[in-house]
């Protein structure tokens, strides 16, 4: 099986095959014999080249969040037949700003048409007894505001759309 991996700004060509109980993972032509044991859901013990790692691997679509002890790394994977990084990155048009936590909307700081700067506050959500300002990830114009003060929202709820 072939695919592409992106870590930060770096791309890798990956080939994975099985070898008995192990995996052979080739990264940019360099072969690694990986003894990976799935010990729990999303949790592996990995031995390779004498080194031992406990890693948790959570996937969200094509993104894998890999944690080893106190370190974490996001690895994006894409089918090698498609465009790799380009495919992973292509995003344009209006951007939905979603709540990253469940909570209660306490204030809405913008209205449709407001021009905002990157980092400017859009909505304030109270969760875990704290008020948290959700800011604009980039400059733009508010296309719609989809919540009202006092409203309870879940994680992923659309708060505002930027265009």
């Amino acid at each position: 099986m072939k695919f592409k991996a992106c870590v930060g700004e770096t791309d890798y060509e990956i080939v994975v095959t099985r070898l008995d109980a192990d995996y052979v993972v080739t990264i940019d032509g360099v072969e690694h014999i990986v003894d990976a044991r799935k010990l729990e859901a999303d949790f592996y013990s990995i031995l390779y080249e004498g080194k031992s790692y406990e890693v948790s691997v959570e996937s969200v679509g094509a993104k894998y969040l890999v944690r080893h002890g106190a370190y974490e790394q996001i690895v994006e994977l894409a089918d090698a037949s498609r465009g790799g990084r380009e495919e992973l990155r292509k995003r344009s048009g209006p951007e939905s700003i979603d709540s990253v936590m469940p909570g209660k909307v306490v204030r809405v700081l913008v209205e449709p048409g407001t021009e905002v700067q990157a980092g400017q506050g859009l909505v304030v959500i109270e969760a875990m007894k704290m008020e948290n300002e959700i800011g604009a990830p980039r400059a733009g114009r508010v296309k719609s505001v989809d919540v009202k003060p006092g409203q309870n929202v879940e994680t992923g709820a659309q708060l505002v759309v930027l265009e």
């Binding site: 991996a5 990264i27 080194k51 959570e58 890999v66 790394q73």
Partner: protein, 503 residues
Amino acid sequence: MAAPFRKLLIANRGEIAVRVIRACHEMGIRTVAVYSEADRDALHVRFAHEAYLIGPPPSSESYLRIDKILDVAKRSGAEAIHPGYGFLSENDEFSRACRDAGVVFVGPPPEAMEAMGDKVRSRELMMKAGVAVVPGSPPLTDAGEAVAYAEKIGYPVLLKASAGGGGKGMRVVRTSAELPSLLAQAQGEARSSFGDATVFLEKYVDRPRHIEVQILADAHGNCIHLGERECSIQRRHQKLIEESPSPVIDAATRAEIGAMAVKAAMACGYVSAGTVEMLRGANGSFYFMEMNTRLQVEHPVTEMVYGVDLVKAMIEIAAGAKLPWTQNQIVPRGHAIECRIIAEDPSRNFMPAPGTIRALRGPGGPGVRYDGGVYGGFTVPVHYDPMLAKLITWGADRDEAAARMTRALDELRVDGVKTSIAFHHRVMTHPAFLAGDLHTGFLEEHPELLSPGTDPWLSEVAVLAAAVAHFRRSEQLSLRGTKSGTSGGSSGWKRGARDGWRP
């Protein structure tokens, strides 16, 4: 030794409720938990001998409901109530209601609580007792008055809630322009957190260390201190990492500030465990900040260094016991550090990250204490404090305690929610932390601590792990595909059924 009470109610939740339950069980006291609808599956409900539902998730309808809690105490036959920290722990009305209901409140008498709980009154009391305080204002009525006081004291100034604690309703103000909006924010937070919007101003001491002294007083006029804790590493004025002793306090200074704390406690007729919080300026001068008339989150570091169980001591004192120690029997050994493991994302300015904990593994081995309030499979409610657990390590010296903490953080695994574990790991190995060069602006000074570092070697491991996981997932998907493929798929059967075909 007979148990001081037969049964005790814990008017709290999370790790501190579990902490109190543990002390009671060791003392042979039966425990009564109370819980909101959001906490049916919480650890304190599971660990207590008895558990009673007291209302819907919002604290104002459950953990802050004095009537409901006293009703449970009556129904269950609890003789005493431990309030933990937060919620009703510094509410003198609750303490009085317990007294009126004939239930022992494990904490100070309401009069001492009232005197110390109001920051404005406690400052006045301290000034009268001759203890140094930070210059400040009386309670503020409007923005104009606030600007006038701020200019008199000199910027930067700190807005603080009169009734508050834990950083709620606190704001640093650096210019008069930002004062009105920050004042409104502070008042709003004070109102929603404590039901009292009163705030006041204080001189903001630059590069201050947060130093606090633990005291224990009995009802027979005896009061001792158990040295200091340093809690300078904070976000939003809330502590993240605490330690005992402070790297900058020597034995002579300890005796001096300890005596000051005992004097403060005696001045208000204090009984039980309490903490006198001070700011230590870069020049070594101490200012009284406030007295917390309750158990502190960070009490374990003192327990590990002094070999004393503060919760048990509070319970014995509440039952009328005399302090079993004199000041010179209280001897420190080694060093302890606590990291508060919170469900927040440090790289997004400590934004709360509630959710379901998929898996949790606690650390073990020598010198490690783990006080948890959650478990794998538990959904962290959005209604309460984001603290999941406290990790405390002891070492023969500060370096060993920090190295042990680093090791324990490597072992601690909380999957499913964002936590501060990796952040704590970075602090424990940071040169400024290891040098003991701390102040309350530590994180602003070292913003690199907020973001995960990169390690080219670990990138390789991450790619390998993701690749294997991806491969396994694809294998499973294609396995399912193959199965349904060879069998002709389920659609054949469905069609057959729809067509009324039967064998």
